[in-house]
């Protein structure tokens, strides 16, 4: 089981947002996709989760194409996308938000079990179950969004800038949690981040995007030590 992206090209209106991009993420790996604002990272993720159409190229998960499939069908087949910013429904309670990803699941016992696991992982959610999600802090909302995705027992997790707008301490927490999730929940993760350092530190491999094209694909460690990457994205 791996995510294979081949010669993927995506247009955003008149702009070529992603240009002939190829990479592979093997099972159980955490891949960080880094690059500056406007590099096309979010567009890439939205296409992989079915929210956006691609122009040409392939993307397969487990050998099956995931392009042109409806988002809800992809979600039901084990691919969960936690989008950036507004990923919880503010008007619904924490409990209701968590329940969303389990509504269609037939195995209600497992839904209950994994919900308990999620609450274990993010105790603060357990304390705020009946609160409206809009009243949560930024970090808590991110935990809720990730927790909700996990309830579906996904195999592939697409995370879009989970650190956005969060305090450094919380970011550290979130990144560590994400890292631990890979083994705990048997996941493959694609982590899109502007926080290149934090992402590469927990990742196995790194994919560097610039203006829609891949400029580097390598192990995360190598990229961390690469002077060009350091100068461009790591600030030192």
């Amino acid at each position: 089981m791996s995510l294979v992206v081949e010669n993927l090209t995506i247009d955003h209106g008149a702009i070529r947002a992603i240009d002939n991009v190829s990479f592979t993420v093997a099972t159980g790996q955490l891949a960080a996709v880094i690059g500056a604002n406007g590099a096309g990272k979010t567009t890439l993720l939205r296409t992989l989760s079915g929210l956006k159409e691609s122009k040409s190229g392939n993307a397969t998960w487990n050998g099956k194409s995931i392009l042109g499939v409806r988002p809800e069908d992809l979600a039901r087949s084990g691919i969960m996308h936690v989008s950036d910013g507004k990923s919880v429904i503010a008007e619904l309670s924490v409990k209701e938000n968590l329940a969303l990803a389990g509504l269609w699941r037939k195995d209600k016992k497992d839904v209950a079990a994994v919900t308990a696991e999620v609450v274990d992982l993010f105790p603060v959610l357990g304390q705020r179950m009946s609160q409206a999600s809009g009243s949560l802090s930024g970090g808590e909302r991110q935990m809720l969004a990730i927790g909700r995705a996990l309830i579906a027992r996904p195999k592939l997790l697409l995370l879009d800038e989970p650190s956005l707008g969060l305090a450094p301490l919380i970011i550290e927490q979130i990144f560590q949690t994400i890292k631990s999730l890979v083994a705990k929940m048997d996941l493959t993760v694609v982590l899109v981040e502007q926080n290149a350092m934090g992402a590469l530190k927990i990742a196995d491999e790194g994919i560097v995007l610039n203006l829609g094209s891949v400029v580097a694909v390598d192990s995360a460690q190598t990229l961390l030590n690469d002077p060009a990457v350091r100068a461009a994205y790591l600030g030192f």
């Binding site: 989760s49 079915g50 929210l51 409806r70 988002p71 809800e72 979600a75 039901r76 969960m80 996308h81 936690v82 989008s83 507004k86 990923s87 919880v88 429904i89 503010a90 008007e91 619904l92 209701e96 329940a99 969303l100 990803a101 509504l103 269609w104 909700r148 579906a152």
Partner: protein, 298 residues
């Protein structure tokens, strides 16, 4: 004093029917971001169906069930086979703004024309299942009848059922999630398209009930529910288009306002009053009096 109590009771009864219509409009608005002007056509069409069943079976109640069920079916069909293709087709240009509105208007005209084809344009009457003579209190007959009571009870039961559906069931959660954020709902695996069709079905059933409750006090003809569409719309605007509670509250406010004006001032001022209230709300608090979010979501 008696006049006052009567006015309150009749306001409740009138407001109850407006509440059904405003609920239908709010349901469709929340799921599709469209004001469904064709709701008037759906409501009157299902009342014609109810009328036919009532005549053939001799029972108003069978007609009522038929109206509600056909309302749900027709609502679902309209969303699935009319609205969805239109949205797919109209994606860009200045026409995007007016296209859905014009589409529901065109649909209204078509439904009313089809009714004319099948049943003709004459006024029919639908008999109420219970007495429409006012209750007698201390030797005076008041303007509130067993029929009004039946209306009040049916709508109350319906609202309770809908509230339970939306707040306590999985389907209700799916409906609400899809209305608040279709994208997050999709990413959670909810089949948003099917859920939206369900929303239209519920709206259709509500307007079907509204028609069967309203028409016995009025006449059955293709344009017979136009006035109720207007009142339902105004009620929905007053309450804010984004909550069921607002729809009911707005309907009650409107019902009370125009009933009291009719009772104490003049029945000729009913429409002007409704209109003035509409303009006031739209100018002062366009998001509605009970809306939780800021301003209107266009």
């Amino acid at each position: 004093m008696l006049q006052f109590i009567t006015a309150i009771l009749t306001s409740l009864s009138a407001g109850a029917i407006y509440a059904l219509m405003s609920t239908a409009l709010v349901l469709v608005w929340r799921s599709t971001r469209v004001i469904n002007f064709a709701q008037a056509g759906q409501a009157v069409l299902t009342t014609y169906i109810g009328y036919e069943i009532t005549i053939r079976t001799g029972s108003y109640w069978y007609g009522l069930i038929a109206a509600i069920l056909s309302g749900a079916l027709i609502g679902a069909i309209i969303d699935r086979f009319f609205m969805r293709p239109i949205f797919k087709r109209i994606k860009s240009g200045p026409i995007v703004m007016i296209a859905p509105v014009v589409a529901t208007l065109g649909l209204l005209g078509i439904i009313q024309a089809i009714i004319g084809f099948i049943w003709g344009l004459n006024y029919q009457t639908l008999a109420a299942p219970v007495s429409t003579d006012g209750y007698k209190i201390a030797n005076t007959v008041i303007a509130f009848s067993p029929y009004n009571l039946m209306v009040l009870l049916s709508v109350t039961i319906t609202m309770v059922l809908l509230t339970v559906l939306f707040q306590k069931t999985n389907i209700g959660l799916a409906l609400r999630a899809s209305a608040y954020s279709p994208e997050i709902a999709k990413l959670s695996g909810i089949k948003v398209d099917a859920v939206r069709t369900l929303g239209w079905a519920i709206a259709g059933a509500a307007s079907g009930l509204a028609g069967m409750l309203y028409i016995p006090n009025s006449y059955l003809y293709p344009n017979g529910m136009d006035v109720l569409l207007v009142f339902g719309f105004i009620a929905a605007v007053i309450g804010g288009l984004d909550s069921l509670f607002g729809a009911v509250a707005g309907a009650m406010i409107l019902g009370f306002a125009i009933n009291f004006v009719a009772t104490y001032i003049s029945y000729k001022l009913v429409f002007p009053t409704a209109f003035v209230i509409l303009i006031l709300v739209l100018l002062v608090k366009p998001g509605g009096l009970f809306s939780s979010s800021k301003g209107r979501k266009d």
